[in-house]
Amino acid sequence: MRIGRGLGAALLVPLLAVLIGFVVVPTIVLFGYSLYEWVFASPKGALTLTNYVELLQSPITWKVLETTLWIGIPVAVISVAGGYAISYYIVFGQGRGRQLLFVLTVTALMASYLVRVYAWRTLLGSKGVVNGGLEAAGLIDQPLEFILFSRTAVILGEVSLFMPLAALTFFAALSGINPDLREASRDLGASRFQTLRRVTLPLSGPAILATSALVFFLAAGDYLTPVFLGGPESVTLGRLIADSFGTTVDYGKGAALSVMVLVGFVLVYLLMRFVMRRTGLLPAWVS
């Protein structure tokens, strides 16, 4: 069915209304709010940049940024690697297990977010499954403390959250790779590994870039996992922002922090793109 310009525009109105009304406008409003000083739930005074200045000067912001990186980067790397492996097997592997794997992956993704996070407590706690098992096996005599209420726990929890997501985005990308290309590469004598490195990976380069950035961003913005699994030092930017809109309320600072994180995300994305292009993972013709 052919869709003309007028009809196309008309049909897009609901989508655009939702997006502009609930995403674009709030972001702009948020930016506007960050330019005021707030007392409780109302802005006071004139337009000012104090929120940004105070945030940039505060050592808390930098400490929290450091923590966010220490958590977000490992989460992104592990999730992407694991997700790629899973989807690679689903798309290019053999055997009946692949359908099951696909269903399991989607099911894992749609399983309750909260429970997936909180259940790690029972696994990793001092009297949890892992410690209980290790003690029963005689490998340790004191429970491992660092595996819960620590950055490690937050990383594990977030990887378990985002790896299925990564797997599915890679699934879409890898399915879209023309199988003839890989076949041709093999026919020309390349080994499996060479095919992977010089054909498949570069073709999925954009997906790897986008997914890594996405997972990192989601990890940075996740404010519940650090609360449930993290120790006192596991305060990420997401948690700081959520707090400033919930418990320690300062809408101006919260809005300013949100804007800075969003801007930061764009910068990180561009940086990653640059790096990937340099290392050949992203062909030059991809924008």
Binding site: Q94, G97, Y118, G221
Partner: protein, 270 residues
Amino acid sequence: MRAQTFSIPWLAIVSMLLMVFLFAPLAVAALYAFSAVPSLTWPFQGWSLQWFAKLFADPGFRKALLTSFEVAIITAVAATLIGTVAAFVFTRLFNRLTVTSQAMARLPVMLPGLFIGVGFVALMILLRFSPGTPLITAGHIVVAVPWVILVVSARLLTYDTELEAAARDLGAGPFQTLRRVTLPIIAPAVAGAALLAFAWSFDETLITVFTRGQETTVPLYIVGKLRRVVDPTGNAVAVILLLIPWVAFGLAAIFMRKSGGVSAMMGQRR
């Protein structure tokens, strides 16, 4: 014809191990929903259904369940409508508007729920709007739509437009073609997208925290439970929340058996 695939046993093993890693917390959570004792520590002691009984006896939970269903159904319907229509436009028309819109439509997926939630707070302050069920639903629709677009577009792109051309050659008008050729073919994908939107909305937490007001959804009920002393009632809710995608997928699979089952949803040609 299936392109060159090879058996990669070690990758299969890695994938299976990763699945174990992903499902271990779920298995543990589900297990403890049947614990005979309130404590969530190891070792597991005894079996009991008391937590499920306690759960359904709680009017707060029943209310949360109702609210979650309401919101999820509306979200699924609205997001599927908006998203399917948009997917059609995106795959059939290419101009500045559609291309920009498509890029914009990816935004909600890329933004962590936190920012969308916080955006809603800003909107509430601006418009003096109270949080509650309508706003919860709006928040869910915003994020569900891109997923619907994704799933339906994927199907539309792999579908052979020759069929439509053939139908028109045989004398069918555009609406007839739509109704009798296109829609039946993409119906599984649309149904799958709707189920996805439903299941996702049911579990949404990050945005709902900000738009809830005094309403409770099932995930927020768990958050409330976790604020109190933790007992396996939360796990019982978890089991219920796990069942929903299984049921949804089971339905989707049965429903789509005609058009090739899960493989069709996976977008592969047979």
